[in-house]
C-alpha cells in the first residue's frame, strides 16, 4: 500500500484526530487508493508543461491598500463558544 500505518498515525496527529484501530486500517486503505489514483495521473508525459498552482484562468488579482469597516466586536465574538466579552477565550495554551 502507498500509505503506511505510521503515515496514517502521523497525519492523524497533525490533524488532531484520535482514530480507532478499525479507522486506522480503513484510512490506510482509502488514503492509499487516493494516492494510487493520483499516481495514474503522474504517468502522463508533462514535459514542457509548467507546474500550475491554480486551475483558474486568473492572475494578479490585487486590491488597493484601503481600509474598510470591520465587524463590531460583538458580531466578531457572536459564534465563539467562549469569550470574556472582548476576546475569544480558550483553554490555556503555553508554548
Amino acid at each position: 500500500m502507498a500509505i503506511s500505518r505510521q503515515d496514517v498515525l502521523t497525519i492523524a496527529k497533525l490533524a488532531r484526530l484520535t482514530l480507532t484501530e478499525d479507522e486506522i486500517n480503513m484510512f490506510q486503505e482509502q488514503l492509499s487508493d487516493v494516492l494510487e489514483y493520483a499516481a495514474q495521473l503522474q504517468t502522463l508525459d508533462t514535459t514542457g508543461v509548467p507546474p500550475t498552482a491554480s486551475a483558474l484562468p486568473l492572475n494578479n488579482v490585487m486590491r488597493s491598500d484601503e481600509v474598510a469597516l470591520s465587524l463590531d466586536n460583538e458580531d466578531a465574538l457572536a459564534n465563539a463558544p467562549d469569550s470574556d466579552g472582548r476576546s475569544f477565550r480558550v483553554k490555556a495554551v503555553l508554548d
Binding site: R86, F88, R89, A92, V93
Partner: protein, 480 residues
Amino acid sequence: MNYEPVIGMEVHIELDTRSKMFCSCSAQFFGIEPNTNVCPVCLGMPGALPVINKRAVEFTIMTGLALNCQIQRHSVFARKNYFYPDLPKGYQISQYELPLCLNGYVDIQTEAGPKRIRVRRAHLEEDTGKLTHVGEHSLVDLNRAGVPLLEIVTEADIHSAEEAYAYVTKLRQLVRYLGVSTGDMEKGAMRCEVNLSLKNAESGEWGTKVEVKNLNSFRAVRNAIAYEIERQTQVLNSGGTIEQVTMGWDESNGRTVLQRTKEGDTGYRYFPEPDLPPLDLEQAWIDDIAAALPELPDAKLARYTGDYGLPAADAAVLAEDRAVAEFFDAAVAAATNEVDVSPKLISNWVSGELFRRLSESGADISAVKITPEQLVSLIKLVAGNTINQSAAKKVFGVMFDSGRAPQNIVEELGLQQISSADALRPIAQQVIAEHPGPVEQFKSGKEGIINFLVGQIMRATRGKADPKLAEQTLRDLMQD
C-alpha cells in the same frame, strides 16, 4: 576543542500598510481594543475569500531590491497548516516554493571590515493573532491576524553575535529608509529567529542546528546568541551531544530555555493556496518600483566619503538616518555655489550643534524648524567673518527654537563681528595698558599668555571681536 559558530537568521518584518494582507481591516493593532479590526476573512469564517494587498507586494519588492534579490515575476502563495489558537483558519497564508524574492545579500560592517551576508529568500505572509494567558485560560485577540509580514531568510553566513547584531541593525535601517516598516523590535514590528550550530574547527564537522526564538530586542539578539554559543560549547566539551530543539530566550534570567522539539517542514503540509491566483508581475511595474527607490545608506556613505571626502565615521553618522541624510543632502545642494561652505562644514554643524540641540530638546529631525538653506546662510556668515564661531552657536540656538533666518537674529542681537583692525586697535591698546604684567610676560617669551589678552578683548567686545584679528592686533602693538 575549537568551534566555529554557524548562524542563519529568519527575520519577520511587519509591513506598514494601512490595511491587512488579505482583507480591508485596518492593520493597526498596537494599543487597539481587542477584536475590533477583524472581519470574516481574518477571522477565518467559512466562505470568506482573501484578496492580495497590492501595497504589501510593492513593499516586498522594494525591500527585495534593497536586499539585492532577484524579484520573481511568477510567485505563488501557499498554505502552511498547523493548529494554534492565534491562527483562526488552521493555516497561515505564506509563500513556500515560489517566493517573491530570491538570492540577495546585505553588506554589514564588522571589526574585521565589511562582510557580505547572503539572503536566501524573502517572502510575504500574514501575521497571527495575539494570545494573553490568564489563569486557566488564554485570551485571543485577532487584530494582528492577517497583518502583512515579510520574512527574510539568510544563508548560514553569520559567525558571531556581533555579526548577527550588525545584520539586524542594518535590516532595520533599510526598512526605515524604504518606509516599509517602523522596524520597531520592542513593539513587535521586527522579530528574529536564529538557527545556530557549532562547526568543529578541526574536523570541519557540522553540529546539530538549534533554533532560538523570542528575541524581542537588538540586545536580546546579541545576548542570546552569545549565551547559546557558550552553552553548546560547554555541552560538546563535556562530551555531550546537542539535540535538535527550539530554545526560547528568557530575557529576565539572561539564558535560553528549552521550548519544544521541532516539527519538520513536512509537518506543515504546504500546498498552493487555492483561494489566491498566482502573481505574474509586469516587469514594467518592478522597474518603476526600482526607479522610485530612495538612495540607500550604502550609496550615501560611498558618496559622502568619495565625492565629499568626509571621514568614514562622519559619513556614517549622517547616513544612519534617512531624514538626517536628506537634511544634509539638501544643505549641500543649497551650498552648490558657495565656495566657502564645504560639505565638511555642513557635516560638522549637522552632527555637532544640530544633534546636540535635538537630543537636548528630545525632538526628532522631522520636526526641526531650521531649513537646510538657513543653515547654509549661517555657515556663510561665519565664513565671511560677519560673525565668529561662538556667536554663530548663539544664533543657531535661536534659529533652532524659532525657525527665523540667521541674518535677522545677528542684527537683532548685535552680534556682527568687529573685524576691522581700526576698530579693534583702541580696544587692544586699552587692554595692553590695563594689564602690564601679562604684557611683560609675553615680551619675555611666554607665548601662551597672548590667549589671556585675546580673552580680555573678547570680554570688552562682548564676544564680537574676530579672535584671529584681535590676536594679530595685539602682537603688532606689543612689538612696537
